[in-house]
Each structure stands twice: as structure tokens, then as C-alpha cells.
Amino acid sequence: MTWLIASAASMWACSAVLSGATPIDRALPLLAAVATILAWSADEAAIAIAVPLLMIFEVSVADEQTRLLLIGFVMAVCFAASLARAANHYVLAVLALVVLRWIPLHSVVVWRELVLVGAVVILIATQPKRTPLSFVAAVALAFVTPAAPTRALLTPLAVAVLQPIRFPAALILSAIAFFARPSIAELCLVSAFFLITPLFRSRLAEAPFLLAAALVMALFPWSGAVARGPAFLLSLPDRSPRQNIGIALAPSESVVIDLPRGTRRLVISGATVTHLKKGRLLGVVEPVLDVRRAGGSPPAAIAIRVGDAADWGYMRREQWFRSRNPFPRRPAGSLHDYGQDAWVDGAGLIELPAGVTRVRVTANARLSAGARLQIEGSE
């Protein structure tokens, strides 16, 4: 009863200070409730101090990204502290999924998420040994499982069934991951990881994965992007100043673009190309030499393939499962939206030879009718 009142009071207090415009800010009362329940579960009232801390960050940090990072950090510390205090894994898992998957609330399809909650409970219940790593693995699997299509929801349950033959199953899943499209590959790899967690005997071996889990929780304000594109965390962020171009080429269409002096890269993405596998040709870039300066052999045309760039919205929640586009080799995409809706667009960088001030970009004629090659900008 005490904790219930504490939770209600915390939620009310957070609702009174909402000032940010993002879904994460609007979810502050929910986060307050989660922090309070974590404190109850771990029997450590100090964890609930996260509530006034969240409120302080909400009202005093004007910069959106900094504020969301701080909120993420606070929640990560709460979960880490609860796990360290051997809180109930079932409670922890449900709360983790609420934070990672239920924000923004308006995007949640309740019955699908409840199925996943049930699945993670079953995963934890069927684990041979409950350790922080096994808990993390169970939550990770539920985290990366897409809510749609329905068959994907069954993945955690299927993995639970495979536990008696965990090691051969892990090998097979790893092999499948090598050939499958990115969404399936991710599911297979995380499933395989879950199955082999009993192999980890030492804390030293577990440490990197626990760290990764803490990082994922700290980045829950953009959990969708983390779930669907973890590679973006390892990539070098693109901070070069960009000149916007904004041209979309239909198949076989071509355009000549004058570029500012010193341009070294084009920023390219695709539209309606999620079905294309890695290596498929999207178009070509031909540097056009100035006639007055022409001399020597012209630079070769540069092929733009899937893998250099991806469909602009390939990582969106509704497109991810069917997408065959991999994460761009040199990503130039920006982060969009928040929470489970967050995604990184599929823009990629195409390197140009030095001194080029004019290029012809031609879309592949064999692209489907609705597909487009988008020239976003230059850097």
C-alpha cells in the first residue's frame, strides 16, 4: 500500500512539471511509476530518488537531446541498481519492456505487447539458471522481436521450446543469420545468444553484454533505432556541414548537379527499395569534367548500390521486418522520432574524387516503377 501511494504521488508530481514536447517527456509519469516499482522490487527506497531527479532534468535542461540522454541515464542506473540488488526478474523484465517498447503509448498495440510480456516471462521461467546475463538475454530477445507480423511474435516462444537442444539450435540460428535479411538475422543472432548464455560462467565474460544492456537502456529514448539498427551506435557519426539538394530520380532518369567547390561526398538514399538485397544497383554517379580543364582520362562512374545507401525509411517500425536493406556502409542518416518509433534514415555517403564540381546522377532503369533514387545533399 505504501509503495502504491508513493507511486501515485510520484506520477502526479511528474505530470505537474511536464515541459518538454517529446513522447519521452510526456511519459515521465510512467517512468516515475517504473522507478518506484523498481525500488519496491529491489527493496531499496534509494532507487526511487530517480523520480525527483527526472523532474529536475525535465525542468532545468532545455536542450532536448541532453535532457533525453540524462533521463535515459537515470533509468539505466535504476535498472542496474535493481538488478544488482537481485530484484525479482519477472518484475524487472516487464518494466524493462514497458520502458523499451511502450513509449510512445499511442503506438502500442496492447495485445501484441502483452504477448511479448508473456513470452519473456516464459523465457525467464524456463531458464536453467537465473543470472543477470540470462535476464538481459531474455529481455533482449523480447526487445528486438517486432510486434508485427504476428508470426514474428512467436519467436521468443519458439526459442523457449528450443532450450533442450540449445547448442545445436544456436549454431543453426547463427548459420541462418548469415543468409537472412537483416531483421531475421538480428532475431536469429539474439536467439542464439539467449540459448548459449548458460555457457558464460565468469562475470568477466558477462561484463561486455551487461554493459551493452546498460547502454541500450540508457538510450531508451530512441529504443526503436537501437533495436532495429544497433550498428548505428558503432558507426562514426556524420557531422559534416551538408548542402541540401533534394532530388528524387525515377528509374532511368538522370540529372546534372553543380556542386560547391570542395564537395567530397554525395548523400544518397532510396525510396520504395526496401525489397532490394545488398549489392543491387540503385544508380550511378558520373563526375562531369569542365570542358576547359579536360585532360587525361575522365574519372570512372561510381556505382550506387544497396549497402552504400538504403531505403530512406527502411528502419521504420512498419517496414523493418520486410526490409532487405542492410545498414549503409558509410551512414549519413539522421535520427527520427522517439522511443520504439525511433529510426535512422537510410541515407549513405558516396565518396567523390577530389576537385569534382559537377556530377551526373542516373537512376538504374531496372528499378521498379515506384522506386526512386534520392539525392539528399552534398558534403
Binding site: A13, A16, T36, A39, I49, V51, P52
Partner: protein, 622 residues
């Protein structure tokens, strides 16, 4: 960047000094995780944070992790000596942060005295006040303070006692200003060691001592005074040693530190007197004349700049004013500047069960406090907060530790106190110049929120420098809490600590965004377009003046105000005309002028000066 790397690396290695085995491994893993997460976040998201603030916050987080493991770890190599080593290293890392701006307050004067002792072998500062000699302080604007003693041959002496400069002499001779600071840092380490020993002497268990260590050694005010040139930390060390000597009933043990205490600052003679009387060797009180003799020999005045009139009682309300200020003032009170020591204040309500050293220390300082609180400068003047009672902090720490051992409810408050302490430390180390506040009734937190929301948040913090309604409510709340703790009738459940703070914060935020009944025109929430602060920022004893904003033709101020009639107070020698909410108001010449204004609606209004000059003080809603 280099400094940050050195600091982070040093803090990362620090756990080896005090932890071992699995606890050390877990601490290292946690710190690495923190570093990894911080790196990824910084790398990818480039948060718009001042790099200096980010660096200090990261280092403070590393230190916090270590302190958590020291407090809760199993395999901890704990001793007073190791605690002192940790403190010394942290203080040493903080010194460069403090040197970001030139030394301030009394610090340059102590340094000049040291320089004079080293080079001139005297205390005559006439040559030191010339620009060339002042370069060592980084200040070119130093002059003798009004009232500083003048010798028979025109010597310019300082009001500050020469004992601290004498102590800093060796360090200063070797390494100049950093060497002088190193002397204070060493005293900081000695103080930490002595404080831990005092806790151990009084039977405080190991776990509790380790829990309070971080708050005492690495929290305000001791942290800030251990890395700056003030006598407060050496004085605190002398005080603790004197108490320990009295407890051990060895007069040889406490007489020397007591003498040193009074030599450091003559005001501590009030402490020494009570200690001596309490020691049942009252005749030793004559020894307290030695420091006075030294001062007389040095400056020709046994009491330096103090007069016997200071011993006369002040007006009764001034005592309440100063006492409440020391406890709850937003800028200069324990509650907001060193919240951990509130537990020490609460320990006073459990007098009989408190350790003997705590009672000795509190009784010894009572006369000193009695003479401090009615003074106009009870808040310390131009110095980091809590200057005049920093020496008492180890004693309060002992009381806090004893209270934590006695009551479970007290432990529930450690988490919010830790958060507040963390924020204060990060703020003070990142912006050391903000440790000095102009004592206008505002405070850094209130000013920051006021600037962000352009609404008066400072009024929500109690102020006894510029008394406000929050001070009244705060005083009542404090009285209630003291009564509750003393009677032990109600224990606040641990799960309700965070929600209580959250509710207070929510109510405060809601109130803060609404127009205030009183608008002080010099405050941060007022938008100033032209004009200047009156009196100017570095006016000596500025807190004694009625401050305001000096405006002339074309200047304007914007602020949130309430609808309806208000009274505006001003002073003007020439008279002026101002426009407010579409109406013009003539301001006749007056040193304490008042004009009634009428605002048609609540919200943001702009006051424009049409002609003349006026110092606008405040506006009160009727």
C-alpha cells in the same frame, strides 16, 4: 583536455588505494561501463553541454562510484590514513579547477602576507600593494581594506592574522601560489584523517564511517575550503584535535591545537575560552592571551580590527535572523549549501545519546555562534558559503554519523542528500567563481531557473539576506521537523522520501511559473535592456545596501507581474518619467520614493524609462 584526462585517469586508479578483491573488480567494471556509455552518448549525440561541465560531471560520477563501493563494499581497505590519502588526491585534482579564475575574497591578502614574510621578512604590505608585487595573486585591483591597521611609521598591515601566511611560507617559497594551496590541501588531508579518527574514537562503526566519509571529505563546505586559501580548514583541524585531546584528557594534546586555532583567527578565542573552561583547567585561559599579544606586537592592536563593542548583545530579532540564515538560507545556509550537515543539526535533538565529542564541540562553539549570528555578515561576506561555521562541520558530521546509526529513518534521506551534494560539488568545481555570490537574496539554483523560465524562482528559496515568505515557511517547517525528531513520535517511511521531494518540487515549479507578488528589479528573472546594477556588483558589504537597477532614458525592464494595483519603490535625485503597461508615471525626486501603478492584466509587462534617472528597487502587489 589534458587536465581532464589526467583527472579521469587518476580517479580511475584511485580505487586501488582503498578497495581489493571482488569489490575492486566490480568498482572497476562499473567505472568502465560508465566511461563506455558516456563515450558512446557523447560521440553519437554531441549533447549541447559545456565541455568543462561534462568533464567535471564525468569525473564526479567516477568518484561517486568509488564512494558507493567504499560505503557498501565488503572488501574495503579502510583506515583514517587511506581516507586522508583519497581526500588529498581529490583535493589536489580540484586545485587547478579553482585556479581558473584569480583568487578572491581574503585569499589574495593572505598571499600578499606570505609574500611579504618571504621577501621582506615583515608584515608591512605597502610594497605588496604595488602592481608588480601583486602579480603573484593574479589581481591588479587590490587595495588595503578600510580599517586595516596602520603602523606608527605608516606601515600598512593587514587585518588578517599572520599565522596562516607563516604556515604557507614553505610551500609558497617552493612553488608560489600552487605551493601555498598545497599547504591548505595538506591541512585538508589532516582534517579528514582527524575527523575519521574522531568518529572511530567515539565508537561509530566502520560501515557508517565509510558512508559519511564522502559527504564530509568531498562535499561542501570542506571541499571548497580545502582547495582555497582560507584559514577555515586548518582551523577545523585544530578544533578537531583540540576536542580529541580534551576527550583523551591530555592537556598537552589539546593546548597546542587550541593555541593554533586562535592564532589562525582571533574570533576563535570565543571557542577556545569555552573549551578551556570546560577542561577544568581554567587557568590555561591565560594562554589565550598569547595570540592577542602576538597581534599586538605585529599590528599594534591586540584585537586586530575587532572592538569590544562587538561583545555587546545585538537586537533579539537579529539572533533569530542569523541562526535561521545559517540553517536554511538558499545561498548561505546548511540546508541548501551542505545538506548533509542538517543531520548533524537534527542530532542536537538527541543530545543525551550523542557522542561526548559532539557535545564538547557544540558547547565549545556555542558562544562563538551566539556572537556570529546577530552580525550583518553572518553569511560569510565575499567567500564560499558557510565560511564562519566550516570549522564546526566535523563535529556536525559526528552528530550526523551518530544519528544515522541510531535511526533507520535518517538513512532514507542519504540518497537525496547525496544527489544534492553531487550537484553542489559539480557546480562549485565547474564554476568556482560562482562560489562567491553577491548576497542579494538569490542563489545559483534560483537564478538558473529564473533565467530559463523568465519567472521568479528565487523567491521559492528561503532567504534571510533579503527576508522572504519562503524563509518564514522554512523556519516553521524546520521547527516542526526538530520537534518531530526530538519526540520520536513520527518516523517518515523510506518509500515516501522520494515522493515527498517530488511533490514539493512540483508545487514549487508550479508556483514559480506564476507572477510573484514582489518583483525585485535587480533579480535574474527581470529582463534588463540597458541600465546597470546598483550598487555595483563588487561593492564592499553590498548586502547592507538596498539594491536595485539604475536606469535612464531608453532603458527598459520586462518581468511577470500580477494584475491590479502595485506599489513601486525607487530612489531618484533628479526625478524621472516611466511608462508601464501603456501608462506614464512621473517619479518625483526622492531617496525613498513610492508610486502606485495599475496593471490591466497578469503576465509579462515592460517598464520603459522615458526621461530622467532612477534606481528602481522593487514593486509589491497590493
Amino acid at each position: 583536455m589534458t587536465y581532464f584526462v589526467i583527472a579521469a585517469a587518476t580517479l580511475s586508479v584511485l580505487p586501488v588505494l582503498v578497495l581489493q578483491g571482488r569489490t575492486l573488480a566490480h568498482c572497476a567494471a562499473t567505472e568502465l561501463s560508465l566511461a563506455a556509455i558516456a563515450s558512446v552518448c557523447w560521440w553519437h549525440f554531441s549533447p549541447r553541454v559545456e565541455p568543462r561541465l561534462a568533464a567535471v560531471t564525468f569525473c564526479a560520477l567516477l568518484l561517486t562510484v568509488l564512494m558507493l563501493f567504499i560505503a557498501r563494499g565488503v572488501e574495503v581497505r579502510w583506515s583514517a590514513g587511506r581516507a586522508a590519502m583519497v581526500a588529498l588526491i581529490v583535493y589536489g585534482l580540484c586545485v587547478p579547477a579553482m585556479l581558473l579564475t584569480p583568487i578572491d575574497g581574503d585569499e589574495p591578502y593572505y598571499l600578499l602576507l606570505t609574500d611579504s614574510l618571504l621577501h621582506d621578512r615583515d608584515l608591512d604590505l605597502r610594497n605588496q600593494y604595488r602592481s608588480r608585487e601583486m602579480a603573484v595573486t593574479g589581481r591588479a585591483d587590490l587595495q588595503a581594506m578600510p580599517g586595516d591597521p596602520i603602523g606608527p611609521n605608516g606601515e600598512q598591515y593587514s587585518r588578517h592574522e599572520p599565522f596562516l601566511p607563516a604556515l604557507m611560507l614553505p610551500g609558497y617559497a617552493v612553488a608560489g601560489l600552487p605551493g601555498a594551496l598545497a599547504t591548505i590541501v595538506i591541512f585538508g588531508g589532516l582534517l579528514v584523517r582527524s575527523t575519521i579518527r574522531m568518529l572511530e574514537d567515539e565508537g561509530i562503526d566502520d560501515a557508517t564511517t565509510r558512508s559519511v566519509f564522502a559527504f564530509v571529505a568531498l562535499g561542501p563546505p570542506l571541499l571548497f575550503y580545502a582547495v582555497r586559501i582560507w584559514p577555515e580548514v586548518p582551523a577545523a583541524w585544530c578544533f578537531v584535535e583540540a576536542i580529541r585531546g580534551i576527550r583523551q584528557r591530555r592537556s598537552g594534546r589539546w593546548v597546542t591545537p587550541l593555541l593554533a586555532l586562535v592564532l589562525l583567527k582571533l574570533r576563535f578565542v570565543l571557542v577556545g575560552l569555552v573549551l578551556v573552561l570546560r577542561s577544568r583547567r581554567s587557568w590555561l585561559a591565560v594562554l589565550l592571551l598569547i595570540p592577542m599579544a602576538v597581534f599586538w606586537l605585529v599590528s599594534g592592536s591586540a584585537s586586530s580590527v575587532h572592538t569590544w563593542r562587538e561583545l555587546l548583545p545585538g537586537v533579539p530579532i537579529a539572533y533569530l535572523h542569523g541562526l535561521l540564515g545559517l540553517l536554511i538560507d538558499g545561498m548561505a545556509g546548511i540546508a541548501f549549501q551542505a545538506p548533509f550537515y542538517l543531520l548533524g543539526i537534527l542530532a542536537l535533538t538527541r543530545w543525551r545519546s550523542m557522542p561526548e565529542s559532539f557535545r564538547i564541540g557544540c558547547v565549545a562553539s556555542s558562544l562563538y555562534i551566539l556572537y556570529l549570528i546577530p552580525r550583518a555578515e553572518w553569511h560569510g561576506g565575499w567567500s564560499p558559503p558557510l565560511r564562519y561555521i566550516t570549522f564546526l562541520m566535523p563535529v556536525l558530521a559526528l552528530g550526523a554519523a551518530a544519528l544515522l546509526e541510531e535511526t533507520v529513518a535518517a538513512r532514507a534521506w542519504l540518497a537525496p542528500i547525496a544527489i544534492a551534494t553531487f550537484a553542489l560539488v559539480v557546480h562549485g568545481v565547474t564554476y568556482p567563481w560562482r562560489l562567491f555570490h553577491i548576497a542579494n537574496g538569490e542563489n545559483p539554483a534560483g537564478e538558473a531557473l529564473s533565467l530559463l523560465y523568465r519567472s521568479d524562482f528565487s523567491r521559492l528559496f528561503p532567504s534571510l539576506i533579503r527576508p522572504n515568505l519562503a524563509a518564514l515557511y522554512g523556519g516553521i517547517a524546520l521547527a516542526v521537523i526538530l520537534i518531530v525528531v526530538a519526540t520520536r513520535r513520527v518516523a517518515w517511511p523510506a518509500p515516501f522520501v522520494a515522493p515527498l521531494l517530488a511533490i514539493i518540487f512540483a508545487l514549487g515549479f508550479s508556483a514559480g511559473t506564476r507572477p510573484a507578488a514582489r518583483i525585485e528589479f535587480e533579480d535574474a528573472h527581470v529582463g534588463h535592456d540597458g541600465g546597470q546594477l546598483y550598487p555595483e556588483e563588487y561593492t564592499i558589504s553590498r548586502f547592507l545596501y538596498t539594491g536595485g537597477w539604475d536606469v535612464g532614458p531608453g532603458d527598459s525592464l520586462s518581468f511577470l507581474a500580477r494584475k491590479g494595483p502595485s506599489t513601486l519603490r525607487y530612489s531618484s535625485t533628479t526625478g524621472a518619467t516611466m511608462e508601464l503597461a501603456g501608462r506614464a508615471y512621473p517619479l518625483s525626486p526622492s531617496s525613498h520614493g513610492m508610486v502606485r501603478v495599475e496593471l490591466p492584466r497578469s503576465g509579462r509587462v515592460t517598464l520603459r524609462m522615458l526621461d530622467g534617472h532612477v534606481v528602481l528597487d522593487r514593486m509589491d502587489h497590493d
